[in-house]
């Protein structure tokens, strides 16, 4: 079924997320939609799948103008979307997830038919998911596969994939691409949304590029990477030079560290982190890197081993002792764990003021806040509430709020959801810290980022932790293999 969008507009407040977008995607093709974070790709796809409604514009499926106001409408018209974070029900079983929302059967779901169809579809695409397993035990890749099967079962003829390769293994990615090619060959219209150049180049029969809410160009094979980059960013962005830090004295020492929670079991990690060193933690989401980072921060207590900071044994001490010892944790969920919605920027700086008397010193707070706003180029005023800032500015505020003289900074996804220029800027600030001798340990699902900025890399896979790998002598492919569980 051909898909056509005509002059789609969508605004969120002052932000024009989709500004007059028109496109035609012919049946049986894989259409790439490329653009950096915040370009408006997801918004457009959510409009097509009925998740949100456009302010104006038309959707044409086949040769009919259709009204898609809810996901239910979209499904009825054969449009299915796989969201970036699979929208499923983690505490329920695979089969329940598969059949919820399907119209077959009466009031009692027809589990037998559902199971039969599930098995048949799984077989056709070579997926092997246990139908009795609970979804929260599956990997992101498996959850995607489940969603694809479910959408096919619902009769989708247009499949939208929103950043499907985030958080899945190299192996699963190959399988996903094979599946999409096969579906396209069967007449499925696939819209593949990504900000990763090499993926769209590899997979798509045609590429549309979006930037700042507008459609800025199209490309057909053979692709010229530089042209695509220019369309995405308006210019060619040069990445920083790799700066190798000198390895000197050990700041943080881990001895036989063992971590356990209800899913994972990490055993015997030994590591010495040197002053000014950057350690990247790579792995699929849920492989243990998050637990590892939270243990280093003092939020989780290890079940065995030692954490020693400059000779001081911190093992078993509470989070505040870690903070006071000079370890700072910067969480990924900015508004959930890092900042306090409802408080202003100035109030945030007052909270973290090191010399607190009984009454709030408004003058000093005001002064510090102004200084930091200027220093970190935060777009906002002292009285801006933190939730009113954009994601990039929130991330800047988080960094601005970090204390001076830190020994170790632990960062979760430092640049997730940021545009590339902000990302580069954030890293320049982090690197400044390194020059002053602060060590950085960070998690990222972006392998390029890991290799670009780390000195050494730890790879996590299902709770296993690799020996430290020298980032300078490692390639993306090699890292990808390890993350996917090959070569252990």
């Amino acid at each position: 079924m051909d898909v056509e969008l005509r002059n789609i507009h969508k605004s969120f407040g002052a932000v024009h997320a989709n500004n007059g977008i028109s496109m035609v995607v012919p049946e049986g093709t894989i259409q790439g939609i490329l653009g950096e974070n915040g370009a408006g790709k997801s918004t457009l796809m959510k409009i097509l799948s009925g998740f949100i409604q456009c302010d104006s514009g038309e959707i044409v499926l086949g040769d009919r103008v259709v009204k898609i106001e809810t996901p239910a409408d979209a499904i009825r018209h054969g449009v299915g979307m796989l969201h970036q974070d699979p929208l499923d029900f983690p505490p329920m079983t695979v089969l329940d997830n598969f059949l919820i929302g399907h119209e077959s059967g009466g009031i009692i779901p027809d589990r037998r038919t559902a199971l039969k169809d599930f098995r048949q579809l799984s077989e056709e695409f070579g997926f092997s998911i246990d139908h009795e397993a609970y979804v929260d035990t599956l990997t992101v890749g498996e959850r995607q596969q489940l969603e694809i099967l479910r959408l096919l079962w619902l009769g989708a003829r247009v499949l939208i994939m929103d950043e499907p390769t985030t958080g899945i293994s190299a192996l699963q990615k190959e399988k996903l691409f094979a599946t999409l090619r096969k579906l396209a060959a069967q007449g499925m219209t696939v819209l593949f949304v990504s900000h990763k150049l090499e993926e769209v180049e590899e997979l798509c029969s045609c590429i549309l590029v979006m930037s700042k809410g507008k459609l800025v160009g199209t490309a057909c094979p053979p692709y010229v990477t530089d042209d695509l980059v220019r369309m995405m960013f308006g210019k060619v962005v040069a990445l920083d030079e790799r700066v190798q830090t000198r390895r000197s004295n050990c700041v943080l020492r881990l001895e036989g560290l063992a971590i356990e929670d209800n899913r994972l079991n990490i055993q015997n990690v030994n590591l010495e982190i040197n002053a000014g060193e950057v350690i990247g933690l790579a792995g699929m989401e849920g492989s243990g890197q998050r637990q590892f980072l939270r243990t280093l921060s003092g939020l989780m207590r290890p079940v065995g081993g030692k954490i020693v900071l400059l000779g001081e044994n911190l093992t078993g001490k509470n989070y505040r002792s870690f903070v006071n010892a000079g370890i700072s944790y910067v969480p990924a969920a900015r508004l959930e764990e890092g900042l306090i919605p409802g408080l202003t920027l100035a109030e945030h700086f007052a909270l973290l003021d090191r010399q607190q008397e009984f009454f709030i010193n408004r003058e000093r707070t005001e002064k510090t806040t102004r200084e930091q706003i200027g220093h970190f180029f935060i777009k906002g005023t002292t009285e801006s509430r933190i939730e009113e800032l954009s994601g990039g500015n929130q991330q800047r505020a988080l960094l601005a709020l970090m204390r001076e003289e830190l020994k170790v900074v632990l960062v979760e996804h430092p640049t997730r959801g940021l545009d590339i220029e902000s990302a580069i800027w954030i890293w320049s600030k982090l690197k400044e810290r390194c020059k002053q001798g602060t060590s950085i340990v960070f998690i990222s699902s972006d392998l390029e980022e890991i290799l670009q900025y780390s000195d050494r890399v730890l790879v996590f896979f299902g709770g296993k932790v690799s020996e430290p790998i020298d980032a300078a002598t490692t390639g993306v492919d090699q890292l990808g293999q390890l993350i996917g569980g090959k070569g252990w």
Binding site: F12, K46, S49, F51, I52, T70, P71, A72, I75, M81, H83, L87, D88, F89, P90, P91, M92, D96, L99, I100, G101, G105, G106, I107, I108, P109, E260, N262, M300, R301, P302, V303, G316, N318
Partner: protein, 332 residues
């Protein structure tokens, strides 16, 4: 205690648990959809009064129960409107309603104080009630008690075995995922909140027209039961079967308190009367302890075997609410 007394007592336990079961299963439905209806305590009082008033004025028991269900649904409708449509705090609205409904009940119930009205008769089920032990225990009760048996089973089957029930679980768990599966999340939330409210609203007349017939204002002894029902919902892990178990345990303890009082003349009656409340707190402590952070930290410091054992014990007691309970749904 001889066996006849015991049997009568246990039959009484089943009967006194019936209204609590209605309130708890009602609240379970509402919370499964993601809405905490904190007005239960006030709703029970208001519907007990208005159910009695309706039945007293019209002479029809059926109208009494109908009034209760309607008012229960209406109060729940206000909670739904405020929290779903207006995105205000469910706790604030529910709490104000629980206080206001109580005062409304006392204010409007003034003229009906102490009057004697119609009462649901006991209706032994033919044949079944002749079974020894089980007959007098289960099948020589009032129709409202039979309704409570049915509600447990139907409630359980609906939530866990039917297609709409699966969707209901989904709506409370992850509304966005339910939405992409074609559900009208907010409409379902309205529906189940009001349905649950109607069930809570039936609990009131079950007291005033059956278990504790009549309306006695502040002396009705109903103030507090709604809160117990809310606690049982948590204890029950949002599952009607386990919730019913909680309701029966509660009724059993209440009965034991009364039955054993002559054996403990030194314990003042006030102490036994409030015994359910500390028990409620202890129960909540038990089901929540596994969620506390210091427990995790302490466990991490224990030897591996002890740790695994304690974790297992805590986890079996623990219940966790639908993930999106109290979170408004917005599709953008």
């Amino acid at each position: 205690m001889d066996s006849a007394v015991l049997l009568t007592g246990l039959a009484l336990v089943l009967a006194t648990a019936a209204p609590v079961i209605f309130a708890t299963v009602g609240e379970t439905f509402s919370e499964r959809a993601g809405v905490t209806n904190l007005s239960v305590n006030g709703t029970i009082l208001l519907t007990a009064m208005s159910g009695f008033a309706a039945a007293y004025t019209t002479g029809s028991l059926l109208l009494g129960f109908l009034a209760g269900a309607l008012i229960g649904a209406l109060v729940a409708g206000i909670v739904a409107f405020a929290s779903i449509t207006l995105k205000q705090s469910q706790v604030a609205v529910g709490f104000v309603l629980t206080l206001m409904c109580r005062d409304l009940a006392y204010f409007l119930g003034n003229p009906f104080m102490g009057e004697s009205g119609p009462r649901v008769p006991s209706m032994p089920i033919p044949l079944l009630s002749d079974i020894p032990v089980l007959g007098p225990l289960f099948f020589s009760q009032t129709p409202t008690v039979y309704a409570s048996y049915l509600l447990i089973i139907l409630g359980f089957l609906w939530i866990f075995k039917t297609r709409p029930g699966l969707m209901l679980q989904g709506v409370g768990e992850r509304p966005a995922a339910a939405y992409v599966r074609g559900a009208n999340v907010n409409r379902l939330r309205y529906f189940y909140t009001m349905l649950g409210g109607a069930m809570v609203g039936l609990a009131g007349p079950m007291y005033s027209l059956s278990e504790k017939a009549g309306w006695k204002g502040t002396l009705s002894g109903l103030d507090g039961i709604g809160w117990i029902a809310l606690a049982i919902t948590i204890f029950g892990g949002w599952n009607p079967l386990r919730a019913a178990l909680g309701a029966y345990l509660f009724a059993l303890l209440q009965w034991l308190g009364v039955a054993l009082q002559p054996l403990m003349p030194n314990v003042p009656s006030q102490v036994l009367q409030v015994a359910p409340f500390p028990l409620m707190i202890l129960t909540l402590l038990l089901v929540n302890l596994g969620n506390a952070e210091w427990v995790d930290r302490t466990l991490a410091g224990m030897p591996a075997n002890t740790r695994r054992l304690v974790t297992k014990v805590l986890r079996s007691a623990r219940t966790s609410p639908p993930a999106s309970l109290g979170v408004p749904f917005e599709n953008e």
